[in-house]
Amino acid sequence: MMKLVQWLWGLAILGSTWAALTTGTLGLELPLSCQEVLWPLPAYLLVSIGCYALATVGYRVATFHDCEDATRELQSQIQEARADLALRGLRF
């Protein structure tokens, strides 16, 4: 249960901290500007994470290496192999 448990713990800690700060249960008097940022913070984070994910996957797809030379090499080696094996008596 390790990874799932780690995630649940992390979310629980962050969630309860945010809830405590926004509902003022800790009795802290935060300046209004802080409160204004804190309230929609989870939504902001979700959108940022989404953008990061899209950007990362997009970048990785764009830079995905197309092994043209590997295929050419393989094709020529296949020819070589077939010829050599036929010489050695392989019946394809």
Binding site: K3, L4, V57, V61, D66, C67, Q77, A81, L85, L90
Partner: protein, 260 residues
């Protein structure tokens, strides 16, 4: 008396160790096959070429699951050509799982390292000497071929396939933090005892099995090295990645997420 003890010869076990020559590394390649009549001779030829050119001590174990296309016949011919000390045939009656194919193959493997790879020419044996070099360099328990790092890559995938692949890999990295960049890859070098231990512990099927091996390896604190490889997908045109496979991948990923 003290002086007499010093002149006494060393204990028998130590003398045996000194006299015995150092054990040479031998690499066993496990090739599970199903309907690979066309490709089997080619992959064996490439393997023999790579190993011979690098002077590596090897054997190739072909585990055919009762292929109806005559793969076994071709395998027997290859054994006659290359010798039965290099090519071992361990066929099975019908198509059983990959994990059991590895177990079956390993029972007869005389090497101290095992290499697993695909028999359809998507993995090129020329990378095996690099795996071996990497393994020695870092004394790794496992060396995994990666398509996603360095100059690793794939040939034959369209944009959709690349997106699915990178997206799935991204999700896997986030959820499992496995410490290896290519989890679904099946071109790997293992120490024999490490592979035996991991197969014992793994419960999944298909390529989730390959993922689980790496995740369990990390749990057991085995060290993993990586070597970029090129993957030439010649079957993608024939067998597109379907919705079923994506669903089973997600199910497998979530299972690993919840249980490891």
């Amino acid at each position: 008396m003290a002086s007499l003890e010093v002149r006494r010869s060393p204990p028998r076990s130590r003398r045996e160790l000194e006299v015995r020559s150092p054990r040479r590394d031998r690499y066993s390649v496990l090739l599970p096959t199903y309907n690979e009549r066309e490709n089997l001779p080619l992959i064996v030829w490439l393997l023999v070429k790579s190993f011979s050119e690098s002077g590596i001590n090897y054997e190739i174990i072909i585990i055919d699951d009762g292929s109806p296309d005559g793969t076994r016949d071709v395998a027997e011919q290859l054994q006659k050509i290359y010798g039965s000390d290099r090519i071992l045939l361990k066929p099975r009656e019908k198509k059983l799982g990959l994990g059991t194919a590895y177990i079956h193959g390993m029972k007869h493997a005389t090497g101290n390292y095992i290499i697993i790879m695909d028999a359809d020419l998507s993995h090129h044996p020329k990378f095996i000497p690099e795996f071996i070099r990497k393994q020695k360099e870092g004394n790794f328990d496992i060396v995994s071929g990666t398509r996603y790092k360095g100059n690793g890559g794939v040939y034959g995938w369209d944009l959709k396939r690349k997106i699915i692949s990178r997206g799935a890999n991204f999700l896997t990295q986030i959820l499992l933090r496995p410490g290896a960049s290519d989890l679904t890859g099946s071109f790997r070098l293992y120490r024999k005892e490490v592979l035996e231990k991991l197969i014992e512990k793994c419960v999944s099927k298909g390529y989730v099995f390959q993922m689980e091996m790496i995740v369990r390896a990390r749990q057991l604190n085995y060290t993993i090295g990586e070597v970029p490889i090129s993957f030439v997908d010649r079957v993608y045109g024939e067998s597109k990645l379907g919705g079923n496979e994506i669903v089973s991948f997600l199910k497998g990923l979530l299972t690993l997420f919840a249980t490891t």
